[in-house]
């Protein structure tokens, strides 16, 4: 085709690219507008945006169209303190625990029953601990598998299939302490517990909170061991986001002193906090 077609194709290409790019960067959710009544900068105006991964009963889960749970209520306290409402984003756990979601501005805080550890501390900042947890072992009550510590667990589970959840401290613990077991990795808690319930795996390793909750609701399952892994949960914020971090820590501290924390704890775990 003679020379004219070049100009045409160029014009069309440029125009189309411009149209497409105009759609980007035009994001109502971005922007550094300060929230109402505070100097704290949030990723979305008027909202405290939380990244989490569902389901993780009883910390965060979908109950009939609404996301509820222990973590949800704690972060609600922070939102109230900042004079905004909480908006929860359900997103793959890898992005949360690697800090990427916080870095790219997807959310202000990450509340996903996350254990505080050194690796994660490198990726983002943690709040003060808000929950004491430990790794636990979930099995069928009838299976008769028990343990008192890592060593006895390794014995009891030798040659068996043990389910873990991807990117969790439970997965790390199992990799370290159960060399003779076959580890099966599941993407979320729901799939993991279902697998244990349907005998796809012989046992499941995860935090005691959700496993105890599951065993409570499913009598044929039981938590037969808790390992003293001394884990503590923290809420994550983007590295250097001191404003939001301060708000979180203050909200939690206030809750502990004025009894709100105990109330929430009892609501979700059926007993007062021991620690």
């Amino acid at each position: 085709m003679p020379a004219r077609s070049r100009t045409i194709t160029s014009a069309v290409a440029v125009a189309a690219t411009a149209v497409v790019l105009a759609g980007c960067g035009n994001s109502p959710d971005s922007g550094q507008a300060p929230a109402a009544g505070n100097d704290v900068q949030l990723v979305a105006e008027g909202k405290l945006t939380t990244c989490t991964h569902l389901p993780y009963e009883p910390f965060q889960f979908n109950d009939g169209g609404k996301i509820v749970g222990f973590d949800v209520e704690l972060v609600d306290l922070v939102a109230t303190k900042l004079g905004v409402t909480q908006e929860i984003i359900d997103t793959p756990f890898e992005g949360i625990q690697s800090g990427e979601d916080l870095n790219i501005g997807k959310c202000d805080v990450a509340a996903a029953a996350m254990t505080i550890n050194d690796v994660r501390k490198q990726n983002f900042d943690f709040s003060e601990p808000y929950f004491d947890a430990t790794q636990a072992l979930l099995v069928k009550s009838s299976a008769g598998i028990t343990a008192t510590d890592a060593a006895t667990a390794a014995q009891a589970l030798a040659g068996k299939r043990v389910g873990v959840q991807s990117s969790t401290t439970g997965q790390e613990w199992a990799q370290e302490n159960l060399p003779n077991s076959e580890l099966v990795v599941f993407e979320d808690l729901g799939l993991l517990t279902t697998a244990a319930q349907t005998d796809q795996v012989d046992a499941a390793i995860n935090d005691n909170g959700p496993l105890l909750d599951f065993a409570k609701k499913n009598p044929e399952m039981a938590v037969t061991a808790e390992f003293d892994t001394d884990e503590q949960y923290g809420i994550g914020v983007k590295k250097g986001n001191t404003a939001v971090l301060q708000a979180v820590n203050e909200a939690i501290a206030t809750a502990r002193t004025d009894g709100t924390y105990d109330k929430i704890y009892e609501k979700w775990f059926g007993k007062a906090p021991g620690a």
Binding site: C24, G25, D188, G190
Partner: protein, 268 residues
């Protein structure tokens, strides 16, 4: 005992039927129908999916797919023209784009857009914009090839006649080639729409609020909540509500427009 051809044919058919019946019986008799019924056909759980599955999930799937398709079509058209251009740089760039994005799983592309764009440009995209862009990019690579093939299948004589009348290359493309190519590519475009509908299930990778869940995530969420596979069945039916009519439409268009863009059944 030599069999005649007819007898051989009948014997062959008989064997095939016997095998088919055997397979069906095998599956039917070994499957645990009680458990399947409980797992997949729990009416109470199914009922609880409504209206959310329609009002939120189906709506989101349709919106993401439609928006993604529009972007894919626009981008694909530009890319097709670039591939056919006489300017070498355009051909190379478009060619590289198509090979690259056709060769990657849509999953990776969605993740790359979800994290790559914010990191590169310092601003996070609205989630609907992000999934639209991702689906648009995924679809555009395929649509570019389809459109290019369609444009090239318009007979050269049509172009020669238009140019002989004094029509410029642009006018020829706009008034003669693209209208004819359009009819040729309608069936494959409809197929692409079906594929894009299924790819919209990757939206969960970008993180969603409850209102932004599309069908697949809605189903998985309910699966976790109710520990029943019934939501998967419900969501699956919703997908079929979209894809089966589209499939039918694609077949009808193919019959109507054939491969030469001329109305079938006309005498010459």
């Amino acid at each position: 005992m030599a069999l005649t051809r007819r007898q051989r044919a009948r014997l062959g058919r008989g064997v095939q039927y016997a095998i088919a019946v055997a397979v069906v019986l095998l599956v039917a008799l070994t499957a645990d129908w009680a458990t399947i019924g409980r797992a997949f056909f729990d009416l109470e759980v199914a009922a609880s999916q409504f209206p959310g599955v329609i009002v939120i999930a189906l709506r989101n799937t349709i919106v993401f797919t439609a928006l993604g398709f529009v972007v894919a079509l626009a981008l694909g058209l530009v890319l097709a023209l670039m591939r056919l251009s006489s300017v070498r740089i355009y051909r190379l760039v478009a060619g590289a784009y198509v090979e690259f994005f056709r060769g990657l799983p849509a999953l990776l592309i969605v993740i790359a857009i979800g994290f790559g764009v914010p990191l590169a440009f310092g601003t996070i995209l609205d989630r609907t914009v992000a999934i639209t862009l991702a689906l648009g990019i995924v679809g555009s690579a395929y649509i570019a090839e389809t459109v290019r093939a369609g444009i090239q299948s318009v007979p050269r004589g049509q172009v020669e006649a238009a140019r002989s009348l004094g029509m410029s290359p642009l006018r020829t493309m706009v008034f003669i080639v693209i209208p004819q190519a359009f009819r040729i590519v309608l069936p494959p475009l409809t197929n692409e729409l079906i594929l894009l509908t299924k790819d919209s299930s990757l939206a969960f990778l970008l993180g969603t609020t409850l209102e932004q869940q599309e069908l697949a995530q809605f189903g998985r969420s309910a699966l976790n909540q109710f520990r029943s596979l019934t939501p998967i069945l419900v969501v699956g039916l919703c997908y079929l509500i979209i894809t089966i009519p589209l499939s039918y439409l694609a077949r009808r268009l193919e019959r109507k427009y054939g491969s030469a863009g001329m109305p079938k059944g006309a005498e010459v």
